[in-house]
């Protein structure tokens, strides 16, 4: 399973499924990371964690532990 965590900066992907449960999952979904959404991995923070992605035109930061819940299919 490939997740957001495996993406390299500059890569684009489509979300296949958001794993996890409860509030954390709902928060990720609410922010627009849900099946079918297009993502672009922008960068990692200078210390490696968290990461920054672009989703529906805005920038979102997630920790590695949170981004490993987002299953993706890399398109480019």
């Amino acid at each position: 399973m490939k997740t957001l965590l495996d993406m390299r900066p500059g890569q684009k992907a489509v979300v296949k499924k958001v794993h996890g449960e409860g509030n954390l999952r709902q928060r990720i979904l609410d922010m627009g990371i849900l099946r079918g959404a297009e993502l672009e991995m922008i960068k990692r923070a200078p210390l490696g964690d968290p990461i920054e992605v672009k989703v529906s035109g805005y920038d979102l930061s997630l920790r590695q532990s949170e981004s490993s819940l987002v299953e993706v299919e890399v398109v480019k």
């Binding site: 979904l29 805005y58 949170e66």
Partner: protein, 716 residues
């Protein structure tokens, strides 16, 4: 139903310009408080030009899922106290995600106007939005505004008043047929178990989580069966399905709404961000920005310090006291009252207000950085470091500011949304030695360590260690346990902040400091003055000439035994510790008075030999540890109380700080004495026990507590 006053709630995402719009709508007619029982700020104001209309600013939220405290407050406010209308502010440059909240708001069946903000930004980008089309699809009025420039605000007000008065409810949006079928099936099952009004909103809530409805088992089974069948058909779970359907609806709403030029693939904000959070440049830039923040506000030669020195030495030193003294003298006011007013009130309150200019400069810089969007990047850069010991990246700013003064440091914790993280940050911020603690460090370093260079850095190291150890310890206790708060955080585009919003934010923070902390200081100053000035002298009770005869000295003598295990069980050290509560600057000057020397220099050079007589190197450092870590000054306690907004949590912080300081000083003194003198005593056993206890608290296994329920007290 007719009401005298209309209430209009203002709802929207964080960073959507909501605060700026609120200021535009209400002008100076604002009341700031807290939502009942929680520390989330509550703002209300009267609508400019329509003073019978109340504008209620809801917390900035992304969703009404009621997962976070802010979401709960907003959804309770909308469901329990249905406002007459909602103004939903939407960032026009980020339509989809902003409309997600709109979808939920429209389901509530409350008259709503959608305000599309950033019209100026859009037209600068050459983009156009077909607002008529959007309005038709959303089924409610849509007004394009610029909160920053203040354009079309009057149209927005007119529309909001119109829907509020007519009670025009937005037409229901329909999801795809299958999902609508599910909703009606659920509707039929729930029947009268679900409230009638705001039915669509509650239907989806019931789908997500039927628990609060307390359904009879038979009904719950029916509901679960419906959900299960649908989940299987869609091959997804209901939480994800609902979110997906809402976003699908949004896609229908915005289809063909955007015209003009498409936004550039790489915006100016992106370009700035490439540099500011660049892998190699981020940390140097961060250090530079922090140095600048520091330099402007708390650094010795910066404008903040300059003003503070002027207020301390000039205004409350050379100008006000002599003037008041002359005035009181002319009025023939009794000597004791003069002393109370001059030494007690003006001395005590002045010492605290002296920090105000420094704080205003600091708040100005911080509000500016917040407005630009850089603060989110600071959290982004520092999160890795702070998460290791149970805090989040947002805890950095309070501690940085705390190096200058704990009061603004503690107040800066307000930007941390997660309540547990905020409480923890508020509790540990004062461990970082503030500038007022420097004289104590200089006194001990000079008197016992020959002015050794390492004493001052060791104090900062101690502070950082205290923060880290506390983070680890507290994270394993029940109130702070649980999975780390999600760091799913928007990094807003860089923007030039609105001057009015920055100034207002500075004013609010500074004023709340003056008002809230000021009352605590005033009272405590009077108490300390009374205790120091009254006592038995020459066989009678009254005003004392010599502080040694005052009640304070008696009190010091009475509680000195408490500090005996820490090595400084003499009454002077006890009294100095107590007066340090008013302001840490007092510690050195109190020693001066108690040793009968009177006025001493900043580092107390005149009393070094006397301190050296009464302390050993070990006990002096234990004294330093206790005074650095224990309860901060009254001003900082006032700030803790303000930010905790709960007596219980304030006492928790004070209690924790005191016990923690006591344990550290005890361990240090007892083990230090054992190592240096080789004498093994009862005290040594106590010290070892304390150390074992401390290590246990640090290294014990984390219990899996259930996630604490966030509770919001019902509003009046």
């Amino acid at each position: 139903m007719t009401k005298q006053a209309l209430t209009i709630a203002l709802a929207g995402n964080p960073n959507s310009g909501k605060t700026t719009l609120f200021n535009q709508l209400t002008g100076a007619n604002q009341y700031i408080g807290n939502w009942p029982g929680v520390t989330v700020e509550k703002k209300e104001g009267k609508l400019k030009g329509h003073l019978q209309v109340i504008i209620q600013d809801l917390p900035g939220i992304y969703s009404l899922s009621a997962n976070s405290l802010e979401e709960r407050i907003a959804s309770e406010q909308l469901t329990q106290h249905s406002p007459d209308a909602i103004i939903n502010i939407v960032d026009g440059t980020n339509l989809e995600r902003n409309l997600y909240l709109t979808m939920q708001i429209l389901e509530m069946g409350i008259p709503t106007v959608v305000a599309i903000n950033m019209a100026d930004m859009l037209s600068r980008q050459g983009a156009k939005l077909d607002l008529d089309k959007l309005s038709k699809r959303l089924g409610c009025p849509v007004v394009g505004i610029s909160a920053l420039k203040g354009t079309h605000i009057n149209e927005l007000i007119a529309e909001a008043l119109k829907v509020a008065k007519s009670g025009q409810i937005p037409k229901a949006l329909s999801y795809k047929q299958d999902f609508e079928k599910l909703l009606s099936a659920v509707d039929a099952v729930l029947g009268s178990d679900l409230r009638k009004d705001q039915r669509r909103y509650w239907l989806t809530r019931a789908l997500e989580n039927p628990e609060p409805l307390n359904l009879k088992p038979a009904k719950l089974d029916k509901l679960n069966a419906l959900v299960k069948a649908y989940e299987e058909k869609e091959d997804d779970d209901i939480q994800s399905i609902i979110t997906f359907e809402r976003y699908a609806l949004i896609d229908q709403m915005v289809e063909g709404v955007r015209g003009g030029k498409a936004p550039e693939a790489v915006s100016t904000s992106d370009k700035i961000d490439r540099i500011v959070t660049n892998r190699w440049l981020a940390l140097p830039i961060f250090v530079m920005v922090m140095t600048l923040v520091f330099g402007l506000s708390v650094w010795g030669a910066g404008p903040g310090t300059f003003l503070t020195d002027w207020v301390n030495d000039g205004l409350f030193g050379e100008i006000i006291p002599p003037a008041v003294e002359t005035l009181l003298g002319n009025w023939g006011v009794a000597d004791w009252l003069q002393s109370l007013i001059l030494d007690g009130i003006i001395g005590g309150v002045g010492a605290v207000l002296g920090f105000l200019p420094q704080m205003i400069v600091l708040f100005l810089v911080l509000a500016f950085l917040e407005g630009t969007g850089y603060m989110a990047r600071v959290a982004f850069i520092m999160d890795r470091v702070f998460r290791r010991f149970g805090l989040s990246g947002k805890s950095f700013i309070p501690m940085l500011v705390g190096v200058g003064c704990s009061v603004p440091g503690i107040m800066a914790s307000r930007t941390i949304e997660e309540e547990r993280d905020r409480r923890m940050t508020v509790t540990v911020t004062s461990f970082i030695p503030c500038s007022a603690k420097l004289p104590i460090i200089a006194l001990i370093a000079g008197a016992l360590f020959g002015g050794a260079w390492w004493v001052a850095p060791s104090a900062y190291f101690l502070g950082i260690a205290a923060v880290i150890i506390s983070g680890v310890i507290l994270k394993k206790t029940k109130p702070f346990a649980g999975p780390p708060a999600p760091f799913v955080m928007e990094l807003p585009p860089y923007r030039w902040p609105a001057l009015g919003t920055v100034l207002r934010s500075v004013w609010e923070r500074a004023w709340s400091f003056v008002r809230k902390a000021g009352t605590v200081i005033l009272l405590s100053s009077i108490v300390i003055w009374v205790l120091s000035s009254l006592g038995w002298e020459n066989g009678s009770f009254g005003m004392v000439e010599n502080v040694e005869n005052g009640l304070m000295a008696k009190l010091g003598g009475a509680i000195a035994w408490i500090f005996k295990p820490l090595g400084f069980g003499n009454w002077r050290a006890a009294v100095a510790t107590i007066t340090g509560l008013v302001a840490k600057e007092n510690v050195v000057s109190t020693f001066g008075i108690l040793y009968g020397i009177g006025e001493v220099g900043e580092a107390g050079e005149e009393i070094w030999h006397l301190i050296a007589r009464d302390f050993t190197a070990v006990s002096a450092y234990a004294f330093l540890i206790f005074n650095l870590i224990c309860v901060p000054c009254f001003a900082a306690i006032g700030a803790i109380k303000r930010e905790m907004n709960s007596a219980r949590w304030t006492w928790f912080a004070i209690g924790y700080q005191t016990i923690f300081a006591y344990v550290l000083a005890l361990v240090y003194y007892q083990l230090g004495t054992w190592f240096t003198t080789g004498a093994f005593t009862v005290g040594t056993v106590l010290g070892i026990l304390a150390l074992v206890g401390l290590l246990y608290m640090i290294f014990r296994r984390r219990k899996d507590y259930k996630k604490p329920e966030l509770s919001v007290a019902p509003a009046k």
